[in-house]
């Protein structure tokens, strides 16, 4: 698909590889802990007091911000900034790159966000409500905290990165978009090391909970760990979560030259838009996005061994994604397994795509596919061949992972990562 254009327009088609992972999820603050919990069926949902709304279900992260930030930086900055710094520092350390000596103007930071600024705006309005809404009590930090580039900007300040650092707004497709954009920038030669992925601070804004509740899309359950249940007949909506996952991406030659450990290779991607509705997904466009990614990776559906779904546990959304997957994969892909990570961690919004990919990367090594938990009664409309329910399964081969992330206003993204073979 891409080949005709690229043959006519010689570009740098460097292979792009993943060399480091830093994350915080509601059920783990490192890839090892996160993966162990995904294989052990351990969810990370808890009760959270939300302003004006009371106790609600949420995915809360429990990393230690003071490992990489001064107390003042935590106070002045945002939660999304703090999560970005945590993930970036952990990813860089994991990559083994000699970061102190690395030219900082050759590092790019590309962070996907669903939204940014709501938390601080709500906090400030609440604060001035105590002063009869007199705006002279409005914080002078409001603007640096709410600018859309804040999470990436805080990471650049913390790391001393002087290369491009900005966010990518793409609703809940944003985590994938961070990686895809980074791969593009590496191929263009804009940077030599990319720190990329997605973050979310969404649980600190009541607005996102209230919005989903008004939409009839907020999960309820007496047992937190059972609340997020994509594909189950009793699913009743989204569990809102915070989280973050950033990767270091490099061109293969650079990674090999420094003897880096390689988690996987970016094989291809697809991004498109529904152009049909503010919130309702469009399975025809989703299927087009999947096909676009497969063509970009020069793969057939049967070449994919894990499909990590976006499904958020809304009644309609899950069915529509299954329809798209069914249209592309049909029944002729006996080695394709399908799973869902939100059943453990809820919906980490801008971090979702990046975190959900991370949870599956270890499958290249352990040949195990983590399941979708909380499926007591599979919705027949969500039945797909290869769906991994409630317990992990061993796979004969895991050479390719396909990661779906879709978002409001109809932004779709599919990212394909393959086992690295020299």
């Amino acid at each position: 698909m891409a080949s005709d254009f690229l043959l006519a327009h010689p570009l740098n088609l460097s292979r792009i590889v993943i060399t480091g992972v830093g994350l915080t999820a509601p059920n783990g603050n490192s890839l090892a802990d996160f993966r162990a919990n995904l294989l052990a069926g351990v969810a990370g949902i808890e009760w959270l007091d939300v302003r004006y709304m009371g106790r609600l279900l949420a995915g809360v992260c429990h990393y230690d911000p003071l490992k990489h930030q001064r107390r003042k930086d935590v106070r002045v900055g945002t939660r999304a900034g703090s999560i970005s710094i945590w993930c970036a520092r952990e990813a860089i350390a994991d990559s083994g790159v000699a970061f102190e000596a690395f030219p900082k103007d050759r590092v790019g930071i590309y962070i996907g966000c669903t939204e940014h600024g709501n938390v601080e705006t709500e906090n400030e309005i609440f604060a001035i409500s105590k002063f009869n809404y007199d705006t002279k009590y409005w914080s002078h930090y409001h603007n640096p905290r709410t600018v859309a580039n804040n999470p990436a900007g805080e990471a650049s300040l913390n790391l001393g990165v002087t290369g491009p650092a900005y966010t990518i707004g793409a609703a809940c497709a944003a985590g994938n978009l961070g990686l895809i954009h980074a791969a593009q920038m590496l191929r263009l030669g804009e940077v030599d090391l990319a720190v990329c992925g997605g973050v979310s601070e969404s649980i600190h804004t009541f607005g996102i909970f209230a919005g989903f509740k008004s939409q009839g899309a907020l999960a309820t359950n007496d047992v937190p760990a059972r609340a997020s249940r994509p594909f189950d007949l009793a699913r009743n909506g989204i569990v809102v979560s915070e989280g973050g996952c950033l990767y270091t991406l490099e061109r293969l030659d650079d990674a090999l030259a420094r003897g880096a450990r390689i988690y996987g290779e970016v094989a291809g991607y697809g991004v498109n838009s529904d152009a049909s509705d503010y919130v309702l997904p469009n399975p025809v466009r989703q299927a087009e996005c999947l096909r676009k990614a497969l063509a970009n990776a020069s793969m057939r559906p049967a070449d994919v061994h894990i499909v990590n779904t976006h499904a958020t546990a809304t009644p309609l959304g899950d069915i529509q994604e299954c329809e798209a997957i069914r249209a592309v994969f049909g029944s002729g892909c006996p080695e394709t397994h399908i799973n869902n990570t939100k059943s453990f961690i809820g919906h980490c919004m801008g971090a979702a795509g990046a975190l959900e990919l991370a949870g599956n990367l270890p499958s290249f090594d352990d040949l195990t596919v983590h399941p979708t938990i909380n499926v007591d009664n599979l919705d027949p409309a969500c039945a797909l061949p290869g769906l991994v329910l409630n317990s992990p399964v061993k796979a004969a081969r895991v050479d390719t992972i396909l990661n779906n992330s879709f978002g409001m206003l109809g932004i779709n993204s599919t990212l394909i990562v393959r086992r690295f073979v020299a």
Partner: protein, 95 residues
Amino acid sequence: MICAANHHMTNEECKKAVLDIIADIAPDEDLSNVKPDVRLRDQLQLDSMDFLDIVMELRKRHGIEVPEADYMRLASLDSCAEYLTPKFNALAAKS
């Protein structure tokens, strides 16, 4: 939220009130040895946004307004006490 002192405030109490604010806005700093006659910015890591925080917290916690033209008066603990103590006491006299 606004709680003006309800007794005559001394310069030392005023300095303590300012240090309490600084402890919150610069939580990494050691405040046990702040020299009252030395500019705060010369002995602590405080930037212009932090000074705006001091002004904001004086407003929020104590109902004290510091006009921009007077920001220089907050340079050291001594100058803070000289400038702010009468303001604290004027507020206390009103309450």
